[in-house]
Each structure stands twice: as C-alpha cells, then as structure tokens.
C-alpha cells in the first residue's frame, strides 16, 4: 500500500467524520431550540392568562354612611359597628347612581355590579375611623367578577352582557378603574374570584416546605453519612436498605399520600389538612432523593482527605465531621433544595391527607388547616368561573417565582460553600 494511497483514504474519512460531526451538532442545537420554544410557549400562555389576575377592576360609589343604618340604636362600640348592615349602604349608593332601575329582579342584577366584599371594605373603613359616620364619601370598591371580566375584555359571559349598559354608564362617568390587585396577595381563598387571594396557600406552602426541609435534611444527611461512612460494606442488610432507598425514590408520590393517610392520620390521629402532616408526607417523599444525592456528594470527597485526617490521628467521627462533611455539604444542600423544590410542586400526596379543603383563613401555624400552592392551583383551575381560571394562572406564576428563588438559593449556597481542592 503506497503512502499516497493511505493519505487519500484518511482525507476521504475526514470528510465523512466532519459531516457526521456537523449533523450531531445540528441535532443537538435543534433539540435545545425545540425545548426552548416549548418552554416559551408554556410560559407565554401562562403569563398571557395570569397577568390579568394581577389587576382588579374597581368601581367608584358615593356612599352615604347613614347613621340610621350603621348605628340604629346609637351604640358606637366596636361590636355593633362590626355587625352593622353595610351591604345596604352599598345597595343604597347603587340605587342612587341608577335611579331608573326598578323592580326586584332588575335591582338584584344591579347589586351584582359590586363584589360582595364591598360591604367588608366599608366595615373596615368605619372601624378604622368612626367619624365617617354621617358623611358622604366617594369610595372605590372592588367590582364583581362579572364586571371585572367584562372590563378585561372577556365578553363571553352571558351575565356580563346584560350588565353592559350600566358598565358603559359607569365608564362614561369615570367610575371604573383597573388597579393593582392587592387582594390577590393579602387574602386567603374565597368563593368569589375577586376576593380570592394566594396568601393562604402561600403561607401553607411556606410552613409545609419549611418543616419538610427541616425534617428531611438532617435525617437524610445522617442516613447518608451512616450508610457511606460507618455501615459495613457488602452486608446483606445494608444492601437491602440501599436497594429499597433507590426504589423508594421512584415510587409515585400518591403512594406516599396513601401511606400518610394510613399512618399519620389514621394510626397516629394527627390533625387532618395541616402543614404538619403535609410536611411529614413530603419528608417521606424527599428523603430518598436527599439520601442518594448526599451519598453521591460524600463519595465525591477525595479519599486522600480521609487518609490525611486519619493519618494525624483523627477518629472516624472527627474525620467525617471536620473534613468529609464540610466538603460534601454544598452538594448535599443542592440535592436537598432541589428535592424540596420538587416537594413544593407536589399535589397528589397532599390530596390524600386532606390539604385540598376549601380554607378561607390564612394558616398561622403548623396545626392550622391549610392548603398549598399547587393544590390551590388545582382547585382554581377546576372552577367554572373565568375569574378563577386567570387566578390559577397567576398562582402558577407565583409558584414558579417561588421555585426559581429556591433554585437560585441552591446555586448561591453551592457557590458560597464550595471549596477548591
């Protein structure tokens, strides 16, 4: 075989190799492009639907704080002020605005312009400042969901269509305004979309996830340290535990929910629907993940660190605590936070332990009934009213921001604790 001949073959094969390389590069590039496009589509549709929920329509009414209605018997203590019939003040103001509306049916339609939360709003005003009684004030009250939808261009609703002449009249007078929806971030769940907020679910998630992290991280790290550093190798029981942990990581989450229902609720009789039980269930679910990632981080600590520590006479515990654990901690934290972020998005196991209930009050502790963000999204997305659908999308945005923050924290912690060796 002549030399020239060999070179020719290599040149020919290089052209083939180059072509293959280019194809592989493009295939990878296309895969990334498709992924990004799908992600953009998903986020785009959620944002397009959800951003509307961050705005709420308000109506301006001239409310006369009628002393006859608020304090018919002249008592001005807090209790009687709280129990006064503010609803009729709103109705009175609406009737004054549209004097031509007559008949019970028509009037009832008219009252539907303003959210049923409007009365609460007036009650808060009066309690904050009783001197308002007897005066006439222009008050901005949240519009009902129908009006809100109409103002946002969702004309599909039948009921809204019949309200149209009144809305046009209000628009002409400059009595309709879209404002930032503070209620969405300060209120709990409600039957009325315009009064429903995310704070209940958000604090439920906060308590649940916080306790999950608090329980699962120390347990997971301790288990990983034992299995990796102290447990005998090639032991039947250790192997059995290892196989089971790996299998548990792949168990569908609803199974953990059923386990929680059977054990925590039925056997231990812990209170239903509480962050405590939710956190226990999610801890069971995240533990395998944390144990596995922690063991991988422990294995990644170079063996000569251990030898160096033992060589100067450190006991095994000192070797682990002083040298191995600090080096493995960044990886463990990352694993724990990513595991917990997954738990944050978990719905199924929490449905089984009753965190799916309709809860208006904002939970103040681990033993208050609560729901969590993903369950709240599920509940709202399941509702027929348009107002809830856009709130579900807004809640998804809040959940995504929460998750982004957690992942950012994971990256920050890893960078912060990472040491070069």
């Amino acid at each position: 075989m002549s030399k020239g001949h060999t070179v020719d073959r290599i040149v020919a094969s290089i052209a083939r190799r180059r072509a293959r390389e280019t194809r592989l590069k493009w295939a990878g590039f296309m895969a990334v492009a498709v992924t990004l496009a799908l992600l953009a589509l998903l986020l785009g549709s959620i944002v397009a639907l959800g951003w509307r929920a961050f705005q709420q329509t308000y109506l301006a009414l001239d409310v006369y704080f009628d002393p006859q209605v608020i304090a018919p018997d002249g008592r001005l203590d807090e209790e009687s002020l709280r129990q006064a019939d503010y609803e009729s003040l709103v109705r009175q103001a609406l009737r004054e605005l549209f004097p031509q509306v007559e008949g019970r049916t028509q009037q009832r339609m008219l009252y539907r312009l303003v959210s049923s939360g409007g009365a609460d709003y007036l009650s808060h005003m009066v309690l904050a400042d009783p001197r308002l009684i007897g005066t006439r004030q222009r008050v901005w009250l949240p519009a009902s969901s129908d009006v809100d939808m109409f103002a946002k261009g969702q004309t599909g609703a039948q009921r809204a269509a019949s309200l149209q002449p009144w809305i046009d009249h209000l628009l002409a007078q400059g009595r309709i305004e879209k404002r930032f929806n503070k209620t969405f971030f300060t209120a709990g769940d409600s039957r009325e979309p315009e009064l429903a907020g995310i704070l209940g679910a958000l604090s439920g998630s906060f308590y649940t996830i916080g306790l999950t992290l608090l329980l699962s991280f120390p347990l997971g790290v301790a288990a990983a340290v034992y299995l990796e550093e102290f447990a005998p190798k090639k032991n039947f029981w250790v192997d059995l535990i290892e196989v089971n942990i790996n299998n548990l990581a792949a168990v569908p989450s609803i199974v953990f929910g059923l386990l929680g229902l059977a054990v925590f609720l039925n056997a231990f009789a812990l209170p239903r629907s509480t962050p405590l039980v939710g956190a226990l269930v999610l801890t069971l679910m995240t533990l395998p993940t944390i144990i596995i990632t922690s063991r991988v981080s422990l294995q990644a600590v170079p063996p000569w660190i251990r030898e160096a520590a033992l060589g100067v006479g450190a006991s095994k515990m000192q070797m682990v605590l002083h040298h191995v654990l600090p080096l493995a901690l960044p990886g463990m934290l990352t694993g724990a936070i990513i595991g917990t972020a997954r738990a944050l998005g978990e719905t199924a196991p929490l449905l089984m332990i009753g965190m799916v209930a309709f809860i208006v009050d904002i939970p103040r502790g681990l033993l208050d009934p609560a729901t969590v963000l993903p369950v709240q999204i599920y509940l709202w997305a399941d509702s027929a009213e348009r107002g809830f659908v856009e709130r579900a999308a807004a809640a998804i945005l809040v959940l995504l921001v929460f998750m982004l923050l957690m992942n950012a924290l994971a990256i920050f912690l890893r960078r912060h604790f990472e040491r070069r060796w």
């Binding site: 660190i305 160096a308 006479g313 002083h322 060796w421």
Partner: protein, 292 residues
C-alpha cells in the same frame, strides 16, 4: 542462579509477566527467610511474622523487621512488592481497607499495636504518616498544622498552639516561606511546599515514628532535594520509615535498607552494604536495574 527468562516475542505482555512472576516465585520458595540481620538494639518498632491478606490474596509473607530509634530505614522493591502495604500496617492505616487482615505481631515500644487494645487514634498520633501525593486539608496553612494538636488537646491556649505551629513549620523548613501568609489556603502552595506542610502537620503532634510513602514521587528534583535534606534533619528526633522507588534516594537518605519482592522481605542490611554488595541475587538484579 539463572537470570529471569528473556521475553519470548510471541507472548503477550500479561503472559510474559506471569512467566516472570512464577519464575521468581519458584526461586523464592527455594530460598530461606530474609538475608541479613533484621534486628537492632533498642528497637522502636518490632515486627514478627507479619502476614497481610486482601481477602483471599496474601500480600505480605512472614516479614520480620525491627525499626530502630533515630534512623531512616528505606523500603525498596519493584511495584506491587508490598512495601506500601507493609508501611501502612505500622500505623494501622490498612484498617480502612475493606477485607484487609493483618496477622503476626507488630509492637511499638513493646506494646502490640493490633492486639493489646491500643486505640488506632493514639497509635496514629505516635506513628505519623506522610503520603505519596501532598494532601493538605483545604484549610489555611495554620489550621493544617494546628489540626492534630487541636484534636489531641496538645495546646492549652492559643499562644501554645501558635508555638507548636511555628515550631513544626520551622522543623519542616517551611516557616520562612509561609510565616506571612499563615491564613492562606494550604492548597495554594507549590507541590514541594505542600509536602513540607504535610510533614509539618505530621510532626505537630510530636510522633515517635514517621512513615513516608514515596513522599517525593510527585515532586520535581529541587523539591525532592529539599525534602531529602529535611529527612536527614528529622532523623535526629524521629524514627523514619520511607518507601521509595528511587534507589539513589534510598542510598542518600537511609541508614538501613530493606528489599521487598512479591510480598517477601528478601534482604535487609546497612544501606551501603545493600547497594555495594547485595547478597541475594534478586536484590542484585533490582539494584542493577535488571527489573523493577
């Protein structure tokens, strides 16, 4: 005694090695125990009938060896001859290896380190170790040296600890180079400096014996020369057992040399004698460079 068979061209490499090994083993089995006097007056460490097994495989066969006070003893031999394994028996570093079993008796000042319930932690404080690859902790230079004294409670206060750190770094010949940057990471030093830092860390707990497992194999010639000079100085205070692949190094730093082959101690004697007048043919083959 015939030389090892010359390599037949048609044999693959592992097959050739197998032939060589079995030939060497045949010769070993015909020979008596180690040539040379393995005892010393007033030994620090005495090893008698040491066998080491990795699972089923025996790595060390019936080794008898004394390590005297204030001497440097070099362990030499071809790769895989068990010299590092033997070294790691002396501070029970082999305990960390799963399936490793040590038989026989190894006594430190008359106390059996394997059978008399001696805590490995105490043993390792008395028998320090320097490893092949410089392995400072990813901590500051100060903390590297102070770690041993801290965990063993050797310093009552910060001043004493400062003294120990300075003293150890001076003994390791590193003080002048690092005294202004004790808070800098130890991993930021050069390879030779890192190895001297590791020596300082080992002597900070004031051990009686210092084990060195090929301490210069990852270093350049200049750093090697510095470490060799340091070993010579440390000899005045410690017993030093050094494993080395470099025969010139063994000749330069040690007073006695032990030659290992396939897990057996073949020959032991004063370094000068081993290198100028080896009595065992295997030793001669090795130091004249016929294999290894």
């Amino acid at each position: 005694m015939p030389n090892p068979p010359s390599t037949p061209a048609e044999l693959s490499l592992p097959a050739t090695q197998a032939v060589l090994e079995s030939a060497a083993r045949d010769r070993l089995d015909q020979l008596p125990a180690a040539i040379g006097d393995y005892t010393v007056p007033e030994p620090r460490l005495t090893c008698r009938g040491v066998n080491v097994f990795y699972g089923e495989k025996q790595a060390i066969f019936n080794v008898n060896l004394d390590i005297g006070q204030r001497e440097v003893i070099a362990l030499i031999g071809p790769s895989g001859c068990g010299k590092s394994t033997f070294l790691r028996c002396l501070n029970r570093m082999n305990d960390t290896i799963e399936g490793c079993r040590v038989e026989g008796e190894i006594k430190l000042d008359g106390v059996d380190i394997y059978h008399d319930g001696l805590d490995p932690v105490i043993l390792r404080a008395r028998v320090g170790m320097v490893f092949q690859k410089p392995n400072p902790f990813p901590k500051s230079i100060y903390d590297n040296v102070a770690y041993g004294p801290r965990i063993h409670g050797l310093a009552r206060n910060r001043t004493e600890l400062d003294e120990i750190v300075e003293d150890s770094l001076r003994k390791a010949g590193l003080w002048e180079e690092v005294k202004d940057r004790l808070d800098q990471p130890g991993t930021g030093l050069s390879g030779g400096q890192q190895q001297r830092l590791c020596i300082a860390r080992a002597i900070a707990v004031n051990p009686e014996v210092l084990l060195m497992d090929e301490p210069c194999s990852a270093l350049d010639p200049i750093a090697t020369a510095t470490i060799e000079q340091l070993i010579d100085e440390l000899r005045t205070q410690y017993s030093i057992v050094i494993v080395t692949h470099n025969m010139q190094q063994a000749a330069r730093v040690s007073q006695r040399t032990a030659y290992f082959h396939l897990g057996r101690l073949i020959e032991i004697g004063p370094t000068a004698k081993i290198f100028t007048n080896p009595r065992h043919p295997l030793t001669e083959d090795y130091i004249t460079g016929r294999f290894g």
